[in-house]
Symmetry: C2
Subunit: 342 residues, 2 copies
């Protein structure tokens, strides 16, 4: 039988120190937890979350696995912490919700419980503060590779959630931000030797994505959007999911895509197929066109096409030719070797 | 770039077929989902869960990893499905809560997407129906080993949760069931060649644990218990956690432990250190002793000792000698080779 009882306790202590408002939930300063409706966090069998009256809970979980979603020798540990939470929060943003708390499932090799874990927790804590989403609990275990699963619990006023299944023929299709930048960042990362330098904005977008929470909330609060989702796998993979859920098709214009500024001739391909952008894809009734500004809080909003009733996905390319749009983005359910590096 | 877009979609289709009430959330039959307060499940960015007014949400997550928590050639796939959900639900039972829905993070090798996945989903579905806890969503990816993380969302009337931190000196300590049976089951499993036979009750307890939901609810509804938790790592590991949270000590009597019926001279050790029992450990004020029956819905309830104000854990052994109780149970944060088989 194992006699290493203290190791899991030591790991929990480290996590508690990084998230003291969770650790002190049982006694003492509860102000921040209470503000996030959390009434019992790390240290009991389960966490207690008091939902806001008149709101629904928004629930999502995301894998973030060494070798599949990140490489330990390429991705800085604090980026792994930030991104593991940010990408799950992006799903909350895509629903128009507000994140409240998260659960962390963490499996670590012994040699990652020192400086790697410290930097990971620092990045995770930074994201937790930035998005006002507190650690409520989790599970830890030993493993030969780093495994992370994050569950985020958010909230939204009842019946206000942005769903995928409401797009209607004639709707205009929009995206936020510029597409393909995170893919550019991944390519930069792959060419660099050793750990990543963070001076490049495309690299930062790959390492430290910013979920579009304010935009999602604004679309939801103003009843602007018929359908929305976040772009995680790439436009050519994600748009079909929205169309499939809504029982519609789409017509996209390559000339309208907000491509990365210095992407050159790869720009359209990067915008169509690049993953990890965590921008929002949404549709609005044509009658609301004037209510969508050119940018929202500094993030460009670009009309890229329209919803059709054909159930087909068509791209008008740069030469004006009609093409069927085929998914070529990220699909994590393929052998890891095919996924990273791509 | 990967061109295997269909593989994740195919996996999701299989999961949707196994949990049709989740898949049909967007259209059609919503009765079961609505009864569980779920308003949007599999297929969108996130699930929508409508909490019951006057209730808190109870949140917990648990790893269930090949090689650490189960062995693919020993544990039947349907047991992996059942147990991955049941052990997370046990945390809800320990709080006195009622499970409502769960999220499934699943990573699979290609060779497990056929009959293994079918049997896994059948066991998961059986547990989902048994405990009335519906699949709300999740995340899938490809991996060379089977990785499972389950998050369960439950509910409890506000301020009624059973916590670990309320035990008081003089409280009587109880456990449900007989302790060490699941450990016996694991030993039987290890001795068998090939996949497990399920005729043995101890083996069934290891493979298909039953969270003590009714007991937890009863303790909570009747304000009987000062502190409670579930026994997952073994009494000698879990009791110190309850005592530490409450700032108290405990005195246990080996003669009182509800040992497995045919455990022989190993009985006390198995009861103290055996993991995976998923029974409840709880304390009550001495004045409530007469309100605790000898069994609850067929499950024995046994008084095994009392809470002290010493902050020490003392065992009176079978010979009447006082001994310090040391944790020797399961600690999953040790090298996997040390954990399974034990």
């Amino acid at each position: 039988m194992p006699h290493h009882k203290q190791s899991e306790n030591a790991l929990l202590q480290k996590i508690r120190r990084a998230f003291p408002e969770g650790a002190s939930a049982r006694r003492g300063d509860l102000a921040r937890l209470r503000r996030n409706s959390l009434h019992l966090a790390i240290g009991d069998d389960a966490a207690l979350f008091r939902p806001t009256p008149g709101h629904e809970s928004v629930l999502t979980c995301d894998w973030f696995l060494e070798g599949t979603h990140f490489l330990r020798d390429k991705h800085p540990a604090d980026s792994v912490g930030w991104k593991s939470l940010a990408r799950a929060i992006s799903d909350i943003a895509a629903m128009g919700g507000t994140p409240r708390c998260f659960l962390l499932s963490l499996a670590l090799p012994q040699d990652a419980t020192g400086t790697w874990l410290d930097a990971f927790l620092a990045g995770l804590r930074r994201a937790s503060k930035r998005f006002d989403c507190v650690l409520a609990g989790g599970d830890t275990t030993r493993r030969d590779e780093i495994l992370i699963s994050v569950t985020v619990i958010g909230e939204i006023a009842i019946s206000r959630a942005l769903r995928r299944d409401g797009a209607k023929p004639g709707d205009l299709i929009y995206v936020s931000g510029r597409l393909g930048e995170a893919e550019q960042g991944l390519r930069i990362l792959r060419k660099q030797r050793g750990a990543a330098r963070r001076s490049d904005s495309r690299l930062r977008k790959h390492l430290y994505p910013e979920p579009r929470l304010a935009l999602g909330s604004w679309l939801s609060a103003n009843h602007l959007s018929n359908a929305a989702m976040d772009l995680s796998d790439g436009l050519s993979s994600d748009l079909p999911r929205l169309c499939d859920a809504s029982g519609v098709g789409a017509l996209l214009y390559a000339t309208k895509l907000p491509i990365a500024l210095d992407a050159g001739k790869d720009g359209v391909d990067l915008a169509l197929h690049g993953g990890d952008d965590y921008e929002l894809l949404f549709t609005i009734p044509r009658s609301s066109e004037k209510r969508i500004p050119a940018s929202f809080q500094g993030v460009p909003l670009t009309q890229i096409g329209e919803i059709t009733n054909t159930r087909k996905l068509v791209l008008i390319d740069l030469q004006g030719r009609r093409k069927t749009l085929r998914p070529q983005g990220w699909d994590s359910f393929v052998p890891a070797a095919f996924c990273l590096p791509r």
